[in-house]
Every structure is written in C-alpha cells, then in structure tokens.
Symmetry: C2
Subunit: 233 residues, 2 copies
Amino acid sequence: MSTPGRGLHGHVLDTLGPAITAGEYPPGSVLRTDELAHHFEVSRSVMREAVRVLESMHLVESRRRVGVTVRPKAEWNVYDPQVIRWRLAGADRPHQLRSLTVLRSAVEPVAAGLAAQHATAEQCAELTECALGMVANSRGHRLEEYLVHDVAFHRVVLNASGNEMFARLGDVVAEVLTGRTHHEVMFEDPDPAAVTLHVRVAEAVRARDAARAEELTRQITAGALQELDILAP
Amino acid sequence: MSTPGRGLHGHVLDTLGPAITAGEYPPGSVLRTDELAHHFEVSRSVMREAVRVLESMHLVESRRRVGVTVRPKAEWNVYDPQVIRWRLAGADRPHQLRSLTVLRSAVEPVAAGLAAQHATAEQCAELTECALGMVANSRGHRLEEYLVHDVAFHRVVLNASGNEMFARLGDVVAEVLTGRTHHEVMFEDPDPAAVTLHVRVAEAVRARDAARAEELTRQITAGALQELDILAP
DNA sequence: AGACTCAAAAAGTCAGACTTATAAGTCACA
DNA sequence: TGTGACTTATAAGTCTGACTTTTTGAGTCT
C-alpha cells in the first residue's frame, strides 16, 4: 500500500509512529534521542532523522536541554496518510474510522457534483465500468472483487472532480472501504440499495447532472454513516 | 503563524520547500544530497534531515545510486500545513486558493450542521460574540478587526463540530481568509449579506437547528466561491 | 525575595571513514 | 545481433566521536 521499511529510520518510524499515535506516550512525555537510539539499536544520526519526520507530522516537538516531547493529539497532522495508517492500525481505529467517514460525507457529494461538470468521456466510461463491476459482484460473497470496484469508483469520482485536495483523499477512502470489508463484520453481501445508488451516480455524471450526482452520493455516504451507527452506536 | 527556522535544517527547508512546491524543479528532477549540502553550506547530516522531511511530505523520493528525485505534484501531501503555506506563498497561489475554497465549501456546511448538534453553551456564546464582532467592524474600513472575528468564527464552528479532521482545517481556513484580506484586492467593506449570514448561523447553532446552520453556511461558502470567480474567472 | 552566576544536560552540528544497493556499462557467448 | 552474466562506479545510507549551543535549574549573593 505504501512505502514500508525504506531504511533504518523507516523501521524506527514503523514502531515509534504507531506507539505515539496509539497514545502510549501521553502528551507531554519526554523522550531522549540518545536513549531511543540505544533502544532501537541505531546510530544517533538515524534516530535524529526519524525524530525530524515525527516533528514534521507535529507528533513531537524537539527542544534543546529538554528533549523530544510528545504533542497533544489536537496538534497532530491528522491528514498525513502515514498518520492515518498508524491510527487505523491502532487502538482508536473505530474513532478514526468515524472521523474519516464523516469527512467522506462532506467531501464526496461535492466532489461528485464537480465530477458531473468536469469528468472526461474516459472518466465517465471508467465510472460506468466500476459501477457494473460492483453490480456483477454484489451477490455470492464476492466481497473482494466488489471492494476493488467500489474503491476504484470512488477514486474516479474524486479525481474527476478536478480538485487536487479532493483527489488526494482517494487513499483515505480506499483505507476506509478496505477496513470496512476486512476488519468489520461483513458476512452479508453489500446492500443492494447502495449498489443501485452507485450505478445511478455513474449515470448522473455521464448525463452532466451535477445536482443529482451530488444528492445520490449524499445518500451513499449517509448510508455509510448509518452503517457505522449500527455497528458502534 | 508556525515554527520558522528551528535550526539549520529548518532554514534549508524554508528555501527548498517553496522552491519545489513552486515547480522550480520539474517532477523527475534529480538532486544530490552532497551538492545541496555544499550549496546551503551545511553538513551532510543536516541536509539529510531536511531531505527526510521533504520525503515524508512526499515532495521527493530518495533512492540509492540515483539521488533525490522530485515527485509529481499529484503525489504531494497537499494537506500538510507547511506545504499549504509554501504553495500559498508561491506562484500558484490563486490555484491553491481556489482548491482550498472548494474544500471549504464542502466541509464547512457539514461542520456547521454538526456544530449545531454538539456545540457547548460556551461555544455558542463564543460564536455569537464573533458574529457581533464582525457586525461591529463591518463598516469603516476596519478590515483587520473584521478579519480577526471572521477567522475566530469559522474556527469555533470547525472545533464545535466535534470532528478532529474538521477541527484541523481551522488553520487552512484562517490562511484563506487572511489571504483574501491581505493579498487580494479588498478596498470595500465586507458584503453586508455575508455578515448577516454569519449572525444567522450563530443563531441557528444556538437554536440547535442543524439543517438551517448547514444551509446558511452553504450560502456563505457559495459566496466565497463566487467572489473568487469574479476576481479570477 | 529577587537578581545574578554557573554548571550540567540534551539537542544541534560537523567531519570523515566506511558500507551497501544499484544503475549502467562491459564483455563473452550464442 | 542480441542476451545474459559480470564488473564498476556512484550516491545514498550508516556509524562514530568530538565539539558547539541553548536552556534550565540550582546555588549564591545582596
């Protein structure tokens, strides 16, 4: 999915990042670079690079004579894909999942409306293809195949919106959808109503009907929210 | 606004970050750590730390035997506040401003709706106070005072939504609003209609009327978008 | 009590030697 | 001529040790 273990400092981050985002070090906790370097059995230079990265994510703050202090959660760069991944892998996964789903419910409808205005013919075709793929795999416990098309569908919509900020949320949506299929309980086949909505969004975009694409997508994300409420009220 | 020049590597970033985000190094360009270190007159270790930060922002990719290659714009972490600041300071400021305003138009209405459900009494009071502050400074070229209250208003709404992802967009909104007042042409006093809308949003939130708060905020952000279209069609 | 000094602590910086991965070139063989 | 294996040059990656700088907290003097 991403860039795992690119060097020693990457390995350190893969351990320290999840630990911090999981709240194992409460805000205000002080770490010392030398100590960490010894603990991870790496040189100080490697450790310093790792700390710099954590600092750029606003997870920690490094100050002379005091050390590396963990910042309060409210200051973290929660849009950093790496941070999102760490948090989704950790204890407050449910909370993070809800935050992201609410974000989706705000962004995706507007993105769909813009997509209806800006999508190229090719993107329209892709969208229809994805929707059909969802229909084809919506029965018979073909969850994996369904997921692939679902993710692709939302990615195309976000890209077709023409807004770079929306486009970059493609990975986030992918994480959320994948998480729903893999981690949450998902014995049943997908809700037929949701499948139909996707098909209709594809149609609306192709028909350049922005208002309808937006409204239909709003129904999709509302369903996703409702699903969360049922699972974790 | 943020954390400028915290150490040598910070100074390097303050130069290299804006340069990359401004597109001075086209995607695929290859930089060499040693060369950069020599150019900025810093040691290799400092330069390496700077590169690690740029790498964590997905602005560049560092590979053995190749060097540090600049990644295409589509892969940048465009939600990183630092990246946003660099881009707002650079050449594609108008483009970035539009992207962010579209993002606002998606997020803020939903955030206002949630705020109407979750805002504490204290937050309601703050909101009213901000709105009144806007009214009081809406005439007589008191643009700076108006701006302060405007920024505060939107921050409170985003925080009161109870969603951490929304809350973290407070800084982004602040940048956009500040940019509008300082960089764009803004001789005139603020649009009276916009001021009234803010007051009514505060009322709606206090009245726990989520639908109304959302709709009114939608009108505010629609106005912001329209303003952009007039300035840069 | 307040201001002043001083020493310890931890991050920050630097220089240099060494290691490792890998792109690219070379050469032999089919 | 093309293809595979071998070699080499290169730039990042790593480690170490010495030194600098900033900041805090304790101790001291008035």
